[in-house]
Symmetry: C2
Subunit: 146 residues, 2 copies
């Protein structure tokens, strides 16, 4: 039962995260990450690595400047592996909306996350978000359906 409880706690964390993204609530988004310099994120966009919750917070503030209104965000096919105080997951994230130039956005990205349980609470400590790239053209594949 313990392992099932931990997986449920991580799924609840991802549900809170998705709800925060849909609400445009950057503080509620960042609460799901470890609150110190040890956080490492490889995000979809450059820069190529973010160190620390404060730095990644700026990335989320920037994220919303690229949309008219709030984008819609959902997590697809979340798979969690957990044991003890460590866990990792993979999933896809689907983002739709209208960009700042008025163009429709419909994007599916690949997400892997590393988690640690600290004082009884699961937090994201390592996140990696990407689209695959066609090396011949140098272009990213913007909608790889799961």
């Amino acid at each position: 039962m313990k392992q099932g409880d931990d997986e449920a706690a991580i799924r609840a964390l991802e549900d809170r995260f998705a709800a925060a993204v849909n609400a445009g609530d950057v503080n509620a988004i960042i609460e799901n990450y470890i609150q110190d310099k040890s956080l490492v994120v490889f995000d979809l966009v450059p820069r190529k690595e973010y160190h620390g919750a404060d730095t990644y917070r700026e990335d989320w503030v920037d994220f919303y400047t690229h949309y008219k209104g709030l984008p819609k965000f959902s997590i697809i096919n979340l798979n969690v592996t957990v044991e003890g105080n460590l866990a990792f997951s993979y999933s896809f994230a689907h983002i739709t909306g209208t960009d700042a130039q008025g163009h429709a956005v419909d994007r599916t990205v690949r997400v892997t996350v590393g988690y640690r349980k600290i004082n009884g609470n699961w937090l994201k400590v390592l996140e990696h978000i990407s689209m695959p790239v066609d090396l011949k053209t140098g272009k990213a594949e913007f909608n790889t359906k799961p």
Copy 2:
């Protein structure tokens, strides 16, 4: 000491992996992954997800067709988090060589890996490799130095 031993074992796995990539030895590459359908890889290139060691093996066979001779491969800034039978890491991989069209390749990619210790052996069970993408141009950033 136990945790240090496990981190050393994972670093040794990554050393064997890098040596196998440099040797062009696909069998020795694939030995480092879980040998069943549960393996999940989000690779640099489409398709957007690989399920199973057999499928990912084909991706490595294809990898070498894009180079004249063997590319040089090195792992940079490997950081490992391990507890019990679970671990994850992040690093950068630097690839140089000459592509099939005769052009120089010099590429730095971001790598995160999930590992499980099964019957005393650490294996890669989840791998994610990417370059960041400029969403304005749709182009990947081919050399993001760490």
